[in-house]
Amino acid sequence: MTDHDDAVIKTDALIIGAGPVGLFAVFELGLLDIKSHLIDILPKIGGQCAELYPEKPIYDIPGFPVVTGQQLVNNLLQQIEPFHPEFHLGEMVVSVARHESEQGIVFHVETDGGKRFEAKTVLVAAGGGSFQPKKPPIPEIDRYENTSVFYAVRQMESLRDHHVLIVGGGDSALDWALNLQSVAARVTLMHRRDEFRAAPHSVAKMRELVAEGKMDLLFGQVTGLEGAGGQLTAAQCKGMDQATFTVPCDRMLPFFGLTMKLGPIAEWGLNLHENLIPVDTEKFETSTPGIFAIGDINTYPGKLKLILSGFHEAALAAQKAHRYIYPDKRLLFQYTTSSTSLQKKLGVNG
């Protein structure tokens, strides 16, 4: 494929990370006529607020005496609606490269799902890094990863006619057990206890299939793996009563929730300091001109990992981004309260 392929998504600004700071960046950029696309590896919008504490109250968002993580995300989505941001969820950005073309500098960005973008500026709002599946500390598990052990299912077909051991008791474990039951040769669900935090209807459905003899349910935890050359043949397990047993299987899917890992950011040629991206405090630009870093992922003297600091950073980064995208336009400082042009952009000027 060439750089001019139709499949390349072109945008003014590409925001990596749809946490609160990435979301507010859409607003600040939008006021300056800069259109944004956002990419997040999570299947949902909102970063830490949505993934780690949707129901918990936040008390230090200016103007909101109290707001929950999810409410804040919902409010931000409402606030940025006038700018029609486009979201690409469930995709991890794997590469960011700077190119000089006749039209000036552009950034080529690719995701693990194969999506390709061309952006005039990139804002890294990656927080604590990508939310990625937790990997159980089972000895030698890495020898089986991506051949027999998978932490996500990209294509159900790849598991057809396999003996699949699914480990976990949450929604991911239950959903995949139910989905794969008709595809795999046999599905075995293993959980540490006879209680499931997954949605009650999935649990009921699973118990029904088990009662009908269509899948197996075992209680215990995996302690070791058997096989050779990356090909799994069985899992060694320990029951609730500490008794050991083995489960024959050639595929294993562990679902133990997510953890934040820096991920591929380290490979984008940006200066890093202790897994954070150093920026200046005037433009919040990284060591690569045209790439900004805002929110929890950046560092500078006095940095506070607070949402409100990220909002401020987004506003200032947007000013500099404007100079890259509209080099010939002068930027006027305006208030949303009184500027008719800003109000028109927000769709509030009748």
């Binding site: 780690l52 504490y53 918990k56 604590g128 937790k134 990997k135 159980p136 500390p137 976990g168 008791g169 949450g170 959980h191 540490r192 206890r193 209680e195 935090r197 935890q221 302690t223 133990f256 929730g257 953890t259 934040m260 202790e274 929890d296 940095k303 506070l304 990992k305 607070l306």
Partner: protein, 129 residues
């Protein structure tokens, strides 16, 4: 992850616990290699906060104590289990996301330090995530 640590340090003034009115106790964390670290704790803090404050390795606490990550998993020494008590149902659910869960497993962010826990000993797992 270190971000909780950075934050609590940076916010030290605003969020600081009122140490003067609370009594001090000692708790000991033993890592998977057997190395033990005895650190002072203050009644009212959670065991996770004690670990982060003293930079005890082996506790990640990614969610900062929201009972939403299971990366603050500890094993309570058997003789302390009664004093520490049983996990509530929300914590028991979250333990599903921890590894090698045993009958003495707890999430340290859900254990409140009190005088009754002076001398508490807990073990940290090989890895939290």
């Amino acid at each position: 992850m270190a971000f909780n640590m950075d934050k609590s340090e940076a916010n030290g003034g605003a969020n600081a616990f009122n140490y003067a009115e609370s009594t001090m106790t000692d708790v000991t964390f033993i890592d998977h290699s057997g190395e033990s670290r005895k650190v002072p704790a203050t009644s009212g803090m959670t065991l996770m906060e004690v670990a982060i404050k003293h930079q005890v390795p082996g506790i990640d606490a990614e969610c900062g104590g929201a009972c939403a990550c299971a990366t603050c998993h500890v094993y309570v020494e058997p003789e302390w289990m009664e004093a520490v008590g049983q996990p509530a149902s929300m914590e028991e659910d979250m333990l599903d996301f921890a590894f090698d869960v045993r009958p003495n497993s707890r999430l340290s962010c859900q254990i409140k330090i009190s005088d009754a826990l002076d001398g508490l000993r807990v073990h940290t797992p090989v890895r939290q995530s």
